[in-house]
């Protein structure tokens, strides 16, 4: 199989080349390659497959919203060849048995699925989960995502303990629960609308605290979905001091502001909440200058009935896997914040390296595992939630004109998406 006529882009830069793929590997990169099967990449970018460090696949426990199969199909359609599945399943991924079960279910997925392990038992923030046992099953990302590890004492223990687990990263959902009691960003719009708020300082206090704990313990801390200007500034300052912290940003946090909530549409409800124009600008600046290391979708499927409630009652979160790339292209590349190659760094090789995934985000050269995506960065399309692969449809982008779409996805040599359609 030859992927023909594309612009090959990876950590080493870009060049016009064809890519030959045989038995799961890239076997040749060159010009004028021919093969029995040829995949058209003209006008497209051939990139290492995208990697999403932050998705909710809802299996086990909430299969009415998403399953590993449907979520991995959505990922493949979005250009992703690997995702990290967050542990807030039911039961939670806080135990080697659940981790093994998820890994087994993921054998037939349309992308590689790596379960994250919980930091604490039941994600309750009280006692450490068996991080070592989960680590021995390959888990590298530990997080209670959806919940913040509120106790500084528990967080410090987790970080100290993780020193004995090579490659482990402790990822924090940074929101102080005594401040983040409401449902949208606290500020002008929450005050106008009368919706109780979640202030920026709820996030920033935990980010600052955990920077101090990362410095003290030496264990890397990864901040999930950074959303405020203050958080970006704190992480920037911590990195300047050599403190081992990394951060991600979600596409909705560089695309929408809290003003979106003015119609009371719960599809805009997400934790941490959509912030102000200034925060959006700061997140973009943080992505541009390397303060924020990766883009992660925080893909959060919810069944329609939990979104057709009042804003205050609705579940927080929105779908992201099939729109992340397009939002990156329109809000970051077209807006002049970064080049397409820099965007792909944030969506492929940086998250792959951070998550310790050697088979993903690799330089496209002879011998590497063929985890690839072929992106048409100029294709304009209109999102119809009913056409998404996810079981749930909770995206506020229905009817929105988007630019840039994944065209083909190759998972270990298998074409799992061809011309925008999943092959299985």
């Amino acid at each position: 199989m030859v992927i023909r006529g594309g612009l090959v882009v990876d950590i080493n830069g870009e060049r016009k080349a064809d890519v030959r793929v045989e038995v799961g590997k890239v076997t040749e990169v060159g010009t004028k390659l021919r093969g029995d099967r040829e995949i058209d990449a003209s006008g497209c970018v051939v990139s290492p497959g995208l990697v999403d460090m932050h998705v909710h696949l809802r299996e086990p426990g909430m299969e009415e919203a998403e399953t590993i199969e449907t979520g991995s199909r959505a990922a493949a359609l979005g250009g992703f060849t690997a995702v990290i599945a967050m542990p807030n399943t039911e039961p939670p991924q806080d135990d080697p048995i659940i981790i093994s079960a998820v890994k087994a279910r993921a054998q037939t997925a349309l992308c590689d699925v790596y379960p994250a392990g919980a930091i604490t038992k039941q994600r309750e923030g009280l006692e450490l989960a068996p991080m070592g046992e989960m680590h021995s099953l390959g888990v590298r990302i530990f997080t209670d995502d959806g919940a913040c590890v509120a106790s500084a004492g528990v967080m410090r223990s987790a970080l100290q303990y993780a020193r004995s687990l090579p490659g482990a990263i402790v990822a924090q959902h940074a929101e102080d629960e005594t401040l983040a009691t409401g449902h949208m960003h606290e500020g002008e719009w929450s005050s106008r609308l009368g919706i109780p708020g979640r202030p920026a300082e709820a996030e920033e206090i935990i980010v600052a605290r955990d920077c101090i704990l990362a410095a003290q313990t030496g264990t890397p801390v990864h901040f999930l979905h950074l959303s405020t200007a203050g958080s970006v500034a704190i992480v920037r300052a911590a990195k300047a001091q050599g403190i081992p912290v990394t951060a991600e940003a979600a596409p909705h946090h560089f695309t929408f502001t809290d003003e979106s909530c003015a119609t009371f549409d719960p599809l805009f409800k997400v934790n941490p909440p959509l912030r102000t124009k200034d925060d959006v600008a700061a997140v973009k600046a943080g992505l541009a200058d390397g303060t924020i290391d990766v883009i992660a979708s925080d893909h959060a499927p919810h069944p329609t009935e939990t979104k057709e409630r009042t804003f205050e009652e609705a579940s927080p979160g929105m779908l992201g896997l099939e729109t992340a790339l397009a939002l990156g292209i329109s809000e970051l590349v077209d807006a002049g914040v970064m080049t397409l190659t820099e965007l792909l760094a944030l969506m492929s090789w940086s998250p792959a390296r951070l998550s310790g995934l050697a088979d993903h985000g690799a330089t496209i050269e002879k011998g590497v595992t063929a985890n690839l995506c072929v992106i048409d960065p100029n294709l304009e399309w209109v999102l119809d939630p009913a056409n998404l692969a996810s079981r749930a449809q909770n995206t506020p982008m229905g009817g929105r004109k988007l630019k840039g779409k994944n065209r083909h996805t190759i998972l270990r040599g298998e074409v799992v998406v061809l011309d925008g359609q999943a092959t299985r």
């Binding site: 606290e186 500020g187 002008e188 929450s190 005050s191 106008r192 609308l193 009368g194 919706i195 109780p196 708020g197 202030p199 119609t263 009371f264 549409d265 009935e305 057709e308 409630r309 009042t310 804003f311 205050e312 009652e313």
Partner: protein, 307 residues
């Protein structure tokens, strides 16, 4: 106009139109048979997800005086308890051929959402901390009867837990829309987190503005707010923000007192002040029925002159 979701749905001319209609309906309510056939054949459903005897009775009385049929949905004992969604509930009501839903909900924006799900008229009877537009209309109407039709320059202080008050969010805007100078008075924990977009000023010093107001509008203080750390104790609240007899003596002789009810006598207002000549609180309630008749008539009526 189809819905009344927010006081912002009305501009100054719209508020004046409601007030003018209210004048005619107030005459109706003073007749021996206080009823007109204006909405005969129309059905109004009052759908209250939160207990509110006063507002519900006011709306239902208004609808009946206009000869509309009234359906009362007590949502605390209905299918909601069986898990029916808000959307299913209002679409069921719509399917019964109702012309308007008067909705009270404990969450902000519920009426806005309902209006996107059904074709009939939606009237917000109070939603969470968001808005209570008919309260604002009856407040403006009542104030105009005492201060004159032109409220421009009138100095109005709204005192209490503004941050958590739907009444404040509607009434402050309505008074400002009419040209009044509105000052919010509360401890910083009870002022909005941001005043951007609020056509008002704010202070935490009640005493400072006592000599500089024409109307004091007091909000009900909810005892449970102590748990949210909005204030240390009721005693301290009264001493700093209550309209006590002592503070009342420092108001000008013509100053009016308003309150959306129900009052906590001895907390935000002393019993003597509540009963004093300055208080026009009972009149607010009376005008409330006529104002709601005007709103229902505007949304559902033929547009023909009131009988």
């Amino acid at each position: 106009m189809k819905n009344l979701l927010s006081i912002s749905d009305l501009d100054q001319a719209g508020i004046i139109e409601v007030c003018d209609l209210t004048d005619s309906f107030l005459t109706v309510t003073h007749r021996d048979i206080p009823k007109v056939p204006a909405l005969r054949g129309k059905t109004v459903a009052s759908v209250f997800y939160e207990d509110s005897t006063r507002t519900r009775l006011s709306f239902e009385t208004a609808a009946k005086r206009l000869s509309a049929d009234v359906m009362t949905m007590n949502m605390s004992s209905s299918s909601v308890q069986k898990g029916e969604s808000l959307r299913d509930t209002v679409q069921t009501i719509e399917a019964m051929g109702v012309d308007a839903i008067v909705i009270r909900h404990r969450h902000a924006g519920a009426p806005n959402q309902v209006a996107t799900w059904v074709d009939l008229s939606v009237i917000n009877a109070g939603d969470g901390r968001h808005e209570h537009p008919t309260q604002a209309l009856l407040d403006v109407y009542t104030a105009r009867r005492h201060l004159g039709d032109d409220l421009s320059g009138a100095r109005i202080a709204i005192v209490g837990d503004i941050r958590r008050s739907r009444v404040a969010r509607s009434t402050a805007k309505a008074f400002a829309q009419m040209g009044a100078k509105v000052t919010l008075v509360a401890p910083p924990t009870m002022l909005p987190d941001s005043l951007a977009g609020w056509p008002v000023t704010a202070t935490s010093d009640f005493d400072e503005i006592l000599s500089d107001v024409d109307l004091v509008y007091l909000l009900r203080i909810q005892h449970e707010r102590q748990d949210s750390m909005a204030f240390p104790s009721l005693r301290e609240y009264v001493s700093r923000y209550g309209l006590t007899n002592d503070r009342a003596t420092r108001l000008g002789p013509e100053v009016l007192i308003m309150h959306p009810g129900p009052m906590n006598r001895g907390v935000e207002i002393s019993p003597e002040v509540a009963e004093s000549d300055a208080s026009i609180i009972t009149e607010q309630v009376e005008n409330g029925v006529a104002v709601r008749m005007a709103v229902l008539y505007l949304l559902l009526g033929s547009g023909a002159p009131v009988a």
